[in-house]
Symmetry: C2
Subunit: 402 residues, 2 copies
């Protein structure tokens, strides 16, 4: 008799639950799709029912209201998502199939350290849960804007986040929320989010470029995140474009993040305002006391030539880095996401420059069928990805691991 | 009853035959390693015996000469390997477990087109076979120094190889040799070779940098070649380092290949000889009429400061590109191979510079445990990889596909 190994069982269960995350199915469909016999499927479903992860119900399956016995994820499943940004904390609560029931965010400077950020995140989650949305949490996924040692579950030397280095985030979350927790780099989570509900739904190999306060990249190969030998894959923010370029927060010069990203654009906008090259930006600076990437985008959208030139230059620099990655990696799709990608006057300008540089500089074979597009998920890609990460873990692991 | 899909059968057979490529095994070991029951294994082995791919024999398995019944690949299996370089053709004949029985090479300019190169390759193979080494060939694997559309089995727009674009190499080989054929990029094959018999034997994720007339890169993820969405992954030779850098053969300026690789080093050596900055190179040029990378290496080994500086600069440029790839990809190992890596006065100088730049510029988390080393296989990594490619294909496909 053929033995089924624990690893194979996990893989079967993962496929089963991944199918159910896309909606209810009847038994026959499930059995065909995961290639299980009726009896093996029945055994698997019985175990998952016992764990209260799934249930069987009579559902209307045709327009005429014909009812059929369907398997679905338990409607009481709840996952929490926490995405720590450099300047804000974003949380959400989702169902088992990753529908967002509620979402909230608050400003918070990640440089204040993990205790402050976690406290904001737990308060936000507490408020959402006080509305009765999630009496019990089945897991929490969390993203941070820096490399994560995935094996050890902590953020490692993230340049913008002193104090986070090797802080046991996973343990802290599990202790406070009483459920399994996983942590990952934010760009990786955004890639998972785009695969679940965004423009990358049908893509197996793609790059997700996060354009936020800093720059990150999620790498998807065969539908899974490539984290690399030590978990730092995708750390493209400090690729050096020019030895003699502007100073970067990391201490080097001419890094990609010194040209584009929230910090770089805000700095350049303030320089332009102070040096008198942009009357529009000077006026905004006088009004607000400081400038952000949003101001630069708004000025560009209003036709400010200096703001447009600055954003175009940033887009070209990002394009240079992506052109090299296209030559090296030959992705099937590039998605540009993150806070800056959504900004009026910014996202589309960057996209146009990136497309132009990549198509000019990368090999024709690699760019012939390469869509480069903006995310359409706005600020939900990160939280959906965080919920996806933890739900896959919770749903596909054996009871003993729960 | 659980159904076994054709795909699962292929995967089992592939694992079985891959084990046997590492040497004979007894049935019990094989059954445990591929997780097959005694009866399933017996059925599989019977089918492979019928196809004359394996045989069972009594072999001595201990020092005392204790004999045991072992399964091994059929000793009559023969694979041919052809590696087309920019300036030479290298061929080999191997056994089923990829031992090289004979190897030969001849100068040939790839720019003369595929007919000329294939004719040289077939002549060389014919000479080797005339010695009775391979009455029948079971497959031929071939490498070319440019991107390959793996799905369609032809080389596509390889910059150094006009005339090869979309030439049906696979069909031509199959027709002439009467056996299955596969074609791949040479750096990918060198990566397969290093995994089978070189410094990457235990590595799952690594980069193989080919330092030949041009520069290429093989990307290995989870033990398999990453070819990318259209087969051009690893095409790093034309990553642009400086808009205002030296002209490249591809028509752009400042490409990596304009700084390092056989063509670039030879050009710089001749310039140094002509401009009078190196008496040693001038002397070599006067003697030979032209200079090669080998001359530059020999001059460097003899202490010529200009030659050393030129090679160091090339190594630094390669290091810059690799530092960015380490940030992006976070590999577990980098192997530098190819004709230039073996040259006295060249390989180790380049290695030292690459290590220095990568460790200075890439994130500490990515470089903390990152070995960067030279290949030890010399000019056999490409042919071993070519034989590995075709043998895996032939051995693991179902009879109907043979």
């Amino acid at each position: 008799m053929k033995r089924t190994t624990p690893r194979q069982e996990n893989a079967q269960r993962e496929r089963l639950l991944r199918l159910l995350q896309d909606g209810p199915r009847n038994r026959a469909e499930l059995g065909d799709l995961v290639r299980l016999s009726r009896s093996a499927l029945a055994g698997e479903l019985a175990r998952l029912s016992e764990l209260a992860l799934i249930e069987e119900v009579e559902l209307a399956t045709s327009r005429k209201g014909r009812r059929s016995r369907m398997v679905r994820l338990s409607p009481s499943l709840r996952f929490a998502a926490v995405v720590i940004g450099a300047a804000s904390v974003n949380v959400a609560i989702t169902t088992g199939d990753l529908e967002i029931l509620a979402q909230a965010s608050e400003s918070c400077d990640a440089r204040q350290g993990p205790d402050a950020a976690l406290s904001v995140a737990l308060d936000l989650l507490g408020e959402l849960r006080s509305q009765g949305l999630a009496p019990r949490l089945h897991g929490v996924g969390m993203g941070v804007p820096g490399p994560v040692s995935f094996r050890d579950d902590f953020a490692v030397v993230p340049p913008v986040m002193p104090g986070w280095d090797r802080y046991p985030v996973r343990d802290a979350l599990t202790r406070r929320l009483g459920c399994p927790a996983l942590i990952d780099n934010d760009a990786n989570l955004m890639a998972l989010g785009e695969m679940h509900a965004g423009v990358a739904r049908t893509a197996g190999d793609f790059l997700l470029v996060k354009l936020g306060t800093g720059i990150g990249c999620g790498i998807v190969i065969d539908g899974g995140i490539h984290r690399g030998a030590s978990g730092s894959a995708g750390d493209i923010g400090h690729v050096q474009l020019d030895d003699h370029g502007p100073a970067c927060l990391c201490g080097n010069t001419g890094c990609l993040e010194a040209y584009i990203g929230g910090t770089a654009i805000a700095r350049q906008a303030e320089e332009a305002a102070r040096s008198g090259t942009s009357a529009g930006l000077a006026e905004r600076l006088a009004r607000a006391g400081r400038l952000t990437a949003q101001d630069a985008g708004a000025a560009a959208a209003a036709g400010d030539a200096t703001a447009i030139a600055m954003i175009r230059d940033g887009g070209r620099r990002l394009g240079q880095v992506l052109a090299d990655l296209v030559s090296f990696f030959n992705p099937g799709l590039i998605v540009i996401a993150g806070g800056l990608a959504d900004l009026t006057g910014l996202g589309h300008v960057v996209l146009t420059e990136v497309r132009s540089v990549v198509h000019r500089r990368s090999p024709p074979l690699a760019t012939r069928e390469l869509p480069i597009m903006l995310s359409e998920l706005g600020d939900t890609s990160g939280v959906v990805g965080a919920a996806k990460l933890i739900s896959t873990h919770v749903l596909s692991h054996r009871p003993a691991d729960l």
